[in-house]
């Protein structure tokens, strides 16, 4: 082994080492040698949002190879789904990425509705679009707060969570739950919006917009944030695409892929919004894209509030027992963290014959070895944090 050879070399030089400072000149044969070292980060580490383990091979301070070890939170959601009917599957589906629960569940109900050919009422579609965007802001605020925290800035997380709490209250008033809303139903929604929702939404929206400006000044213009994130963890667009990255990670590299715009579902075809793209693909750009996406979500919510039509919130004449017909469908939606796809294969039974969840974080985490190769250990946290993943979304 290489390391053994190096160790032997080291001991043969030990006499020279002992004489250091004794007035003789040291002749070093072939430059300074360093030994490679294996360092284990995690599974419990503050920058991993759960239980992700990364095994690093270090050459001094430089990372030679990084290998993410996942699976600590594997809950076999795909297997469990094969034994449950669509409504029970929905409860499973909003749990893998626990901070974008509503986005997860609409992906699943859209898949089933596409297979069954169910027409969803206009009002339900508008409400779904709006709640999905509220949930997106919730998710992005979480990362906007936690990322500076990982870099050592304590305050932003308090500001971010103040706004988060207001949106949580809004969603709680509608769905009755703070985290796992389970508000979507096959063919519509569980309920209509509560009285006063639109007015309260507008108030919260104005507040979030105003405070995001403040947040942007505090964080994005911060000198320490610049020093820690600029030109750190640069992801070239070609690599990002080949690994199947999506969401802020891909958009920061300059690839404007967004299913909301490319293959509009729900009401995204009828609202105006931009897909922000970064230029360098570094950690700073990923955070910048996240902040810009919050503004875009605010724009979408505003248009949803303006265009919200009256009408029923659930389709009439739904089958009492929903059976998934034979065939297959692949529905892609833009989750806060990136592309979420449900590949459903049915065989006419109540439970899906096969359900593959294509999650954003899985592909985004698989690019980490590329991002960390050649990086410095102090930049590890800056890079890991900026990939914006949820471990439940990686492992499923």
């Amino acid at each position: 082994m290489d390391t053994e050879r190096e160790r032997a070399l080291f001991s043969s030089q030990s006499e020279a080492w002992m004489l250091r400072g004794g007035g003789i000149d040291l002749v070093v044969d072939d430059g300074l040698r360093t030994e490679e070292m294996l360092l284990n980060i995690g599974p419990q580490h503050p920058s991993t949002h759960g239980v992700l383990r990364v095994v690093l091979e270090l050459d001094g301070e430089r990372i030679v190879r990084a290998e993410p070890v996942i699976g600590y939170m594997h809950r076999a959601a795909e297997k469990l789904a094969e034994f449950r009917d669509p409504l029970q599957v929905m409860v499973l589906m909003n749990r893998h990425d626990w901070i974008s629960a509503f986005n997860n569940e609409i992906g699943w109900v859209l898949a089933v509705e596409t297979m069954l050919g169910i027409e969803v009422p206009e009002r339900a579609q508008w409400i779904r679009t709006m709640l999905a965007e509220w949930n997106r802001i919730l998710n992005h605020l979480m990362f906007c707060g936690s990322y500076p925290l990982e870099l050592g800035a304590m305050t932003p997380v308090f500001y971010a969570f103040r706004e988060r709490e207001m949106i949580q209250a809004l969603l709680e008033s509608t769905t009755g739950a703070r985290m796992h809303h389970s508000f979507a139903r096959i063919g519509g929604l569980k309920d209509d919006l509560p009285r006063g929702f639109v007015r309260q939404s507008r108030e919260v929206l104005a507040w979030v917009r105003a405070k995001m400006g403040e947040f942007e000044d505090l964080v994005m213009g911060n000198e320490i944030i610049h020093a820690r994130t600029r030109n750190v963890g640069v992801l070239p667009p070609g690599v990002a695409v080949a690994y199947g990255c999506s969401g802020p990670v891909l958009q920061a590299s300059g690839v404007p892929m967004d299913p909301r715009r490319d293959e509009p579902y729900l009401k995204y075809g009828e609202v105006e919004f931009d897909v922000p793209v970064g230029t360098n693909g570094d950690s700073y750009d990923r955070l910048w894209v996240l902040v810009q996406r919050i503004y875009e979500s605010c724009r979408i919510i505003e248009q949803c509030l303006d265009k919200l039509p009256p009408g029923p919130f659930v389709a009439p004449k739904l089958p009492k027992k929903i059976k998934i017909p034979a065939g297959e469908v692949y529905v892609r939606t833009e989750n806060p963290l990136g592309l979420m796809g449900y590949y459903v294969v049915g065989d006419g039974g109540e439970a899906p014959y096969r359900l593959k969840m294509r999650t954003a974080s899985f592909s985004n985490v698989s690019v980490i070895p590329e991002l960390l190769r050649g990086a410095l250990v102090p930049d590890l946290v800056s890079v890991l944090g900026s990939v914006f993943f949820v471990v439940g979304d990686v492992d499923r």
Partner: protein, 146 residues
Amino acid sequence: MHGHAVVRVAPARYVEAATLLRDDSDLAFDYIEFLTAVDWRPKGGGFEVVLHVASTVHNHHCRLKVDCDAGAPHCPTVSHLWPGANWHERETWELFGIVFDGHPHLVKLVLPEQFEGHPLRKDFVLMSRVAKPWPGAAEGEEEEEE
């Protein structure tokens, strides 16, 4: 199907087809969405490997399907074409037991190392469901609706 092209190819020509999809400038499928498998053995088939690729240039989609043997399933790897397929193939290998020939690093990804069996195969028993038929259902409710 539902706006996405679905193509079934023979295992021998799978890599050739995938290379064409990626390199042809009119196709330019540069983006890998997922790779997985479906166990069709209870329906009389074998394993089916499903690869979904997309193009960020042309914004179109394609699903490649490859039929594998039911007994000892083998499939060529595409991880040299799309590095993102690496993890998907590792996951499919451990969950279905499909060997991806030529894969550079076929080791367990999400399962613990000591784990035996391939959980997403249809003959892998979900113990909790065997022990308790339908948790949460009220007594007699199921029979009424049948």
